[in-house]
């Protein structure tokens, strides 16, 4: 059987978050969620806060939260440049919970016109992704 692994690199400003082989990678882009296998067409896409799921040869999976950045997909290599990336055990659930509440409150008061709706929504999404990945 053909080797279906390809190289995955997830890079943050302050560290190389992940570097290794994987069989499939899934993540969210501004245009929707995508899954990538080997020999995907070359694509550069902007990612939005979401979970990155890496599937390995032996069927195991690894999950991480990634916020903002972009991904470059080449035939046998995927590079994600993420501004923030976290493994589930690095996420502070309580903090994310609080952030979620805060963002929800802000969204509720959007009608006053004082709050930046897009920003509040973005914050809410980030908090939700963190909670989702941490569980």
């Amino acid at each position: 059987m053909e080797d279906r692994n390809f190289k995955v690199r997830i890079i943050c400003p302050d560290r190389v978050f992940y570097e290794g082989q994987a069989e499939m990678i899934e993540f969210s882009t501004t245009e929707g969620d995508i899954g990538v296998y080997k020999h995907h067409i070359p694509l550069t896409t902007v990612i939005r806060p979401g979970a990155v799921i890496l599937t390995f040869e032996d069927g195991t999976q690894k999950e991480a939260a990634v916020h903002a950045g972009f991904a470059e997909i080449l035939g046998d290599q995927v590079t994600i440049l993420a501004e923030i990336a976290e493994w589930p055990d690095e996420i502070d659930v309580n903090r994310a919970e609080r952030a979620k509440e805060r963002a929800e409150k802000r969204l509720a008061s959007v009608a006053d016109g004082k709050v930046d709706e897009a920003r509040a929504e973005y914050a809410l999404r980030k908090a939700l992704v963190r909670l989702d990945v941490a569980r």
Binding site: P13, V16, T29, T30, T44, T45, G69, F70, T79
Partner: protein
Amino acid sequence: MASMRDIKRRKSSIQSTQQITNAMKLVSTVKLQKSKQHAENSKPYFDQMYRTVTSMLAKSGDIDHPYLKAKESGKKAIIVVTSNRGLAGGYNSNVVKQVFEQNFDPKDVLIYGIGKKGCEILTRKGYEIKRDYSEVIESPLFEDAEFIAKELLTDFENGEISEIYLAYTLFKNTVSHIPKCIKLLPMSKEELTAEGEGNESDDRTIMSYEPAEDEALALIIPKYITSLLYGAFVEAVASENGARMQAMDSATSNAEEMINDLELKYNRARQGSITQELTEIIAGADAIS
């Protein structure tokens, strides 16, 4: 010849200075280790960012985007990354020199200062400090870079500034730091591709973009600027500590040299005074007998 007491006083003063410079050297060595690690960790991100942006620009044909178009009017913004503290040899003045070398009229330039020392020198020279983010350089965070990039781009979009330059010190290795001034915006394709030559001529198959090129570019360029700024900050911090370590190292060894010199002088003076006393006693004894 200076008296023994003078020499002694001078020696002890140099000795205490040496203690200070030595301590500073040790501190900056430790800090250098840390900031060097930091700079190295963040390197892959910027390299990749740079590659992606250059290849995007090279592939994407003529995009009519404000970030890429040169404007005639408006002032030039220079982000000057220096340190908040002195005693780092030529570190700060070398960065500021890069600003002078651009040969802009000070009236046309707005300085976005990072680091007190650079701001001080430039104010004296008649440049206008538009914004001062000096506290950032103490421990640069990605969020700081994001914030500064946002303000810069807002000013750029408002037409307040038409060009953005970045002057900082590149950290090549522990002993060599290169002051640099690079142009951030507007990006011209020619400049970018000329710089990225060599690694750019590779056989990349046609890249698709999602969303479309111009939209993606509008999203990615702010990220690119942010990452360049952040990269400049961490490199500048590493260079600052490296420069201070070198400066303090040579100060310590200079002090050592001076102390040895004074030691010799002191011993001579001591010997001289003993000889003189002896001669006087002998002369006195001679006179009595």
